[in-house]
């Protein structure tokens, strides 16, 4: 792992650009300068991987090894450099604490929001903590962390459901919002309880079982515009900080609240670059506690294909870091866009990203989510377009570059040869 990081750093900074890059070294090189082409990372592709590999949901969501291996091999088939191989991260803790779940033969488990675990304020005092290693699907979580580390050769990393999203899972979104407005003292009690009684001992448990000293918190419920910026500031950032501090004392780096930087506006007419910039700064504050006016450009889950990408580029160039230079930028392809395509539009979009961001270096490309029914051709096409147009040195005029439709073996045939 260290060798890959060093190799990627030397390549990215232009000190030594020889040999082939593996997934990790390509990510490092892309963040620091440029690799052979912009690196591809992914999160939340579990439902898609399960569908492509034809693994039954009852196995995929209960057998950690199967889940990790499935995501790993499907990612490898596509050419994704680093996949985040976790599954239904918003359910584990709530399920272990006793939330009613619905398990189906075709989908991931889901919390039954009709009957939240905390229906009344008094219910909070009845929930038993701390979470134990054999509660709910915690053995499945532990297996995923172990197998992820084993298969990727990296240090074990835990993943958890951040305080706000867990509060939604336990209380339901409307009831929680109502608490935050009408009964703030109860809402603060709930968030404090989640951090102190649930997360801190839970992350200690995961560390004990797997050795994971880094824990990353998913928090989609806290994304803008699920919450306004003021609400993120008041309800997400302080509890991310509380968790970070408490975990640091236990030797764990807990990163919660990063999703605050994920600007998820769906309506192109409501796209607002100023709000987006504030989201990025908010994410830096949630993760690090440092109050900066700039944040790392992250295109996240929003409908990026309809945004003014030129405005993002301008932001990047206006906010260079002294000595370091351009901010690394995580570009993205929207989940519904990758599902629907068509391939020609995907190619045009990736070409536009390369033209605006890769040309200057420090561009990463992320699949934030690949929906279950996405035709594999679309994913292969996106990556092929990135490798074609984003191959360094990048052509002056991308229109002169010929793109060839990718040819790929069906997954089941390809995986047999691995």
């Amino acid at each position: 792992m260290i060798a890959s990081i060093v190799k990627g750093a030397l390549y990215g900074l232009g000190v030594r650009r020889k040999g082939t890059l593996d997934g990790l070294s390509r990510v490092v090189a892309s963040a620091l300068g440029h690799a052979d082409y912009p690196s591809v990372v992914s999160a939340q592709i579990h439902e898609h991987a399960m569908t492509v590999a034809k693994v039954p949901a009852k196995k995929f969501f209960f057998d950690g090894k199967t889940a990790v291996e499935t995501i790993y091999w499907v990612s490898k088939w596509y050419g994704i450099d680093i996949p985040m191989s976790f599954t239904d991260v918003y359910n584990y803790e709530a399920e272990a604490l006793g939330a009613k779940m619905i398990y189906s033969g075709h989908s991931m488990p889901t919390i039954d929001f009709r009957e939240p675990l905390i229906k009344k304020a008094e219910d909070l005092d009845k929930i038993k903590t701390p979470i134990k290693a054999d509660w709910g699907r915690i053995p499945y979580v532990i297996d995923q962390i172990r197998w992820n580390a084993k298969i990727s050769g990296s240090a074990p990393i835990a993943i958890f459901c951040s305080p706000f999203s867990l509060a939604v899972g336990l209380r339901s979104y409307p009831a929680l919002i109502r608490d935050m407005r009408s009964r703030p003292e109860f809402a603060h009690k709930l968030f404090t309880w989640i951090v102190d009684e649930v997360h801190v001992p839970y992350l200690q448990l995961l560390k004990k079982e797997t050795g994971a000293k880094i824990a990353m918190g998913a928090d989609a419920w806290a994304c803008y515009p699920n919450l306004s910026l003021d609400m993120i500031d008041k309800w997400v950032v302080p509890y991310a900080k509380r968790l970070r501090k408490a975990c640091a004392k236990k030797g764990i780096i807990a990163l919660a609240g990063a999703a605050a930087g994920d600007y998820c506006e769906e309506d192109p007419e409501k796209f607002d670059i100023e709000i987006m910039k504030k989201c990025w700064s908010m994410a830096v504050r949630a993760i690090s506690g440092i109050d900066l006016n700039i944040g790392m450009p992250l295109m996240g889950m929003g409908r990026t294909q309809d945004w003014s990408l030129e405005a993002l580029r301008e932001y990047r160039h206006k906010n260079k870091i002294p000595i370091f230079g351009l901010l690394p930028t995580i570009t993205n392809i929207n989940a519904r866009f990758i599902r629907e395509g068509p391939p020609e539009k995907i190619v045009d979009y990736v070409k536009r990203l390369v033209d605006l961001f890769a040309r200057d270096g420090r561009m990463l490309f992320m699949f934030v989510q690949i929906p279950a029914l996405t035709p594999p051709e679309h994913v292969h096409t996106a990556i092929a377009a990135l490798k074609t147009y984003g191959r360094y040195p990048i052509a002056e005029n991308l229109d002169t570059v010929t793109f060839e439709k990718p040819v790929f073996e069906p997954f089941e045939e390809w995986v047999k040869k691995q």
Partner: protein, 217 residues
């Protein structure tokens, strides 16, 4: 007397627009003490409050929490008004059956759409979440709605939207009902490919689409 009632209605409207469920409940009780004209309360307080909240949503002034709290306030008020409304023959813009597909428990978007439709004057039969395909078909047969709203949140459950529409078609009911699709994983293209008549991006948009489908304003 009229001035007092208007003042109570204004307060109720404010509570709903600003998303204050407890206030909405209290003001509805007061309004009911002042007048027996329940339709007037709905028309002059609830409907404009929800409409104005929708406009603020479109302008990026209101966010999801604001809409959800408006809906909560509306529900508190309607819980008191509905028993009295049902005693009267109230003309509806049309009957809408709405539900979330099988295996999917996410009801936030669907509930918002139901509230917005009700506030606009539609009769809404909310089938809830995790609704089997057969239930959609049975309810279309039994209740003869003008519109069916089908929602899904998960990328694995959205496939059932197409199955619901196909089942409605096979039952020979497709021409008798308009179908609108919604949910965060869906798109307009998906909705049309699945055989729906319209797609609602959010609650406010969905109401406009339903009105357009039925040619009402």
């Amino acid at each position: 007397m009229s001035g007092v009632v208007l003042s109570a209605l204004e307060k109720l409207k404010k509570c709903i627009k600003e998303g204050d469920p407890d206030g909405a409940k209290a003001e509805t009780e007061k309004a009911l003490e002042e007048t027996e004209d329940v339709s007037k309360i709905v028309k002059e307080a609830l409907v404009p409050a929800i409409m104005e909240a929708g406009e603020l949503w479109k302008k990026n002034i209101y966010f999801l929490p604001d809409l959800v709290m408006c809906a909560e306030a509306f529900k508190e008020s309607m819980a008191l008004l509905e028993p009295k409304l049902s005693q009267k023959k109230v003309k509806s813009l049309g009957r809408v059956v709405i539900g979330v597909v099988s295996g999917d428990m996410h009801d936030l978007g669907k509930t918002l759409v139901a509230v917005w439709l009700r506030s606009t004057g539609f009769e809404v039969i909310d089938l809830g979440v995790d609704v089997p395909i057969e239930t959609f078909v049975e309810k279309v047969k039994e209740l003869k709605p003008a519109v069916v709203g089908i929602s899904a949140y998960m990328s694995t459950s959205m496939i059932f939207i197409k199955d619901v529409i196909e089942a409605i078609r096979k039952a020979g009911l497709r021409k008798k009902v308009k179908i609108i699709v919604g949910g965060v994983t869906t798109t307009e293209k998906f909705a049309f490919d699945a055989g729906a008549d319209a797609w609602g991006r959010d609650a406010v948009d969905a109401v406009e689409k339903v009105k357009a489908l039925l040619g009402v304003s």
